[in-house]
Amino acid sequence: MTAEEILNSLKAKFGDAIVEAKLDAPQPWIVVNPSRTKEIAFFLRDDPATRFDYMMCLSGVDYNNGKLGIVYHLFSMVHRHKIVLKAFCTKEQPHIQSVTSVWATANWHEREAFDMYGIVIDEHPDLRRILLPYDWEGHPLRKDYQVPEFYNGMKVPY
């Protein structure tokens, strides 16, 4: 399936949940509603025509314009096609629905996105920090992150 076909079938099924799409990019992407990612993901995984059974990557991004986002790189082992999904949220309301129940691999990626960007993953089974200590403050990959002077009595900057 081409990206256009995927977009069409998504639009047919979910309508306004598909916010935006850019199909002429080298790796075409579709922007979806952050609160409906799970059902879209289930559809993409289970629909015989799309069958995106393999999530290559899930990345959090800070777009440096008040927007945070999660980028899903999907791949179908059966059909050998790829698509990129994106879901955006604002820094004030950083909520995106979890897709862990669809692709189990998303679990740790989403925790990482939470850890690094502070994106709250709704419906995530175990949303804790993953890389940084539990008592760490702030989300370091945000563009406006300030490195703390001390952590637990240890000086952080050189």
């Binding site: 200590p133 370091p140 240890m154």
Partner: protein, 163 residues
């Protein structure tokens, strides 16, 4: 009593030969704590493998800090790990020695500037005896570090240092 807790006022033949014996034993049998952190740990493993054979120096890996004499801090120490390293160091039985292996453990290495989660030098949490530079140091460098440590141990003394 604890002879190693005592300090003699001045050394005589007996004290110095005892001191030599004890130091010789300590430096010849440095049990290493089985503990690696990052890239340098691979070089540390290479050093303990057949080609470099760290055991020639009497270094045997022990899994628990209670029985270890020397800890190679081989790799980047992160802030999350630092407290654990401190705890492990604490739990080692004295006399104990630390070799800081690699730039990261020495000073933060390539992560010194933007590494918000990297401790810039393990000597900020535990005392280090020997620093081995390199990113990562070759196994030979680690062996050199061990020899340096042995020299340091050899110079330890039971006699009070002149004030």
């Amino acid at each position: 009593m604890g002879l190693l807790d005592q300090r003699f006022e001045n050394g005589n033949v007996f004290v110095t030969s005892l001191e030599n014996l004890l130091n010789w034993a300590r430096l010849s049998s440095l049990y290493q704590m089985q503990f690696g952190l990052a890239c340098c740990a691979i070089e540390m493993m290479a050093a303990s493998a057949s080609d470099f054979d760290i055991m020639r120096f009497g270094i045997i890996p022990r899994a628990t800090p209670r029985q270890a004499d020397v800890m190679f801090v081989a790799g980047t120490v992160t802030l999350k790990m630092a407290s654990r390293i401190k705890r492990l160091y604490d739990q080692m039985a004295e006399p104990r020695y630390i070799i800081s292996m690699g730039s990261c453990a020495n000073c933060g290495g390539p992560y010194w500037e933007h590494g918000y989660h990297v401790l810039k030098g393990v000597d900020r949490v535990i005392p280090v005896d020997v620093y081995v530079p390199g990113c990562p140091p070759r196994p030979e460098a680690l062996l050199e570090g061990i020899i340096k440590l042995q020299e340091k141990v050899r110079k330890e003394s039971l006699v009070k240092k002149p004030a």
